[in-house]
Amino acid sequence: MSTLSLTSAFTLLLKRDMTLAYRRRSELVNPLLFFVLVTAMFPLGIGNDPKLIEAVGPGVIWVAALLAALLSLDAMFRSDFEDGSLEQFMLSAHPVSILVLAKILAHWLVTGLPLFIAAPLLAVLLNIPGDAIPTLMLTLILGTPVLSLIGSVGVALTVGLRRGGVILSLLVLPLYVPVLIFATDAVKTAIVGIPTTAQLSILSAMLVGSLVLAPLATAASLRISLS
């Protein structure tokens, strides 16, 4: 049996994934570029009326974040599935759900966190007033991990499929709706200047709930996909 403690297994896996991501730096930038590009397309599509852009701004940023998360999801287990390391995780003595959580965390650090950092810039581009930018960043830091967590279930179910990408979006996007609703509403409320504790509390509740449940569902799905 393995003498490795669960904590060190977790950190080792996290370090491994981060190193792998760092070695492929050019791929790291892709979701971020996609996020910025999609956001920049909207003013071109709807016209340059500042009021209109301000009104749709929070929604645009969040829909772009959703799509960027979706785009990067497929890579979460893909390479591990192809080279067989995923099967080794299944065989390990540690609970798969915790190992999966390490992978999800690594995925979020690589794809979710950059969105969070880029968000103020995009907020300025979309005329979102400065007072609302902290709220936007709060919703992103609470909401993007939920996207990675819920998404991991969908990826785990489709990892064995050759063309899982389209199905993945069909599986995952309807489940993203609550995050989208509360996050954009928080930002819109902040723009008007009303306190946003209610929305942020609900987003935190979603984060905690999915943090507990999603790894279990993902582990079960991975077992099925690998069987």
Binding site: V153, L157, T158, G160, L161, R163, G164, V166, I167, L170, L171, L173, P174, L175, V177, P178, I181, F182, D185, M206, L213, A217, A220, S221, I224, S225, S227
Partner: protein
């Protein structure tokens, strides 16, 4: 006794036989309740004081919407059973229900939109119920797509079961968030016809239609399950004997 019953129902061969005997009963009672419900709903029940005759689409719309949620719950429950106890027949029920559920959801959306045109003046409004029904349709389509994408049907059934369970946890969250979003963004632009405590002359046909739709679902799910069983067990001896008998 009960244990033995469940044990027997878990065997594809036994299930196939019992289902075959049940289907005509479901079909006949479905047709009877359908004719009764439609007759009382469309001809006998009084016209609505506000909406006139056009409210009568309710007798299709409301039962279809009920069924769309009922079937999803059935799928999630049988999904749970098949994941925990690995019963083949509940796996078959999950798969067989998905298409029927999606059809009912689509029916509810289509009739809702037909109803919305005279009442709200547009085919579609981003009303909370319509929106969550639309999302429910996407969840059904996701299940169907995932099932058809996985080659091995037993693996597919288990994957779909997990998805149904994840969905059933999320449906209330999605529903309430959509409702919240709706109350914030569309205050009272829709004159919902509230809930004027429904008269018995309208309620009875509605419930009859609801029972009728449930019976229809029962009949169709058993038919689909039988087809699925024969396909899965096509190498089993009893299926081959069955085919040879049919061929005679």
């Amino acid at each position: 006794m009960i244990v033995r019953f469940f044990h027997q129902m878990g065997s594809p061969r036994y299930f196939y036989g019992v289902a075959g005997k049940l289907i005509p009963w479901f079909m006949v009672s479905f047709l009877i309740t359908l004719v009764l419900g439609l007759y009382y709903g469309l001809f006998v029940a009084p016209a609505d004081y506000q909406q006139g005759e056009s409210y009568r689409i309710m007798y299709i719309h409301v039962p279809a919407a009920w069924m769309s949620m009922f079937i999803y719950v059935v799928m999630a429950v049988s999904g749970l059973i098949s994941l925990v106890w690995r019963i083949k027949m509940t796996e078959v029920v999950v798969i067989s229900s998905a298409t029927v559920g999606a059809s009912f959801t689509f029916l509810a959306l289509a009739t809702g939109s037909l109803w919305g045109k005279p009442m709200w003046g547009s085919w579609w409004v981003w009303d909370a119920r319509l929106t969550s029904e639309l999302l429910l349709l996407f969840l059904y389509l996701g299940i169907i797509a995932l099932h058809s994408a996985i080659e091995d049907k037993r693996v597919a059934a288990r994957a779909v079961s997990i998805l149904a369970l994840v969905g059933v946890v999320n449906i209330p969250i999605i529903h309430y968030s959509v409702e919240w979003w709706n109350t914030l963004h569309q205050p009272a632009s829709i004159t919902k016809f509230g809930k004027p405590s429904m008269d018995m002359s309208m309620l009875v046909p509605l419930l009859t239609m609801a029972i009728s739709f449930k019976l229809y679902y029962g009949a169709v799910v058993l038919m689909r399950a039988r087809a699925e069983i024969v396909e899965r067990e096509r190498n089993a001896r009893w299926v081959q004997e069955l085919v040879q008998e049919e061929a005679k």
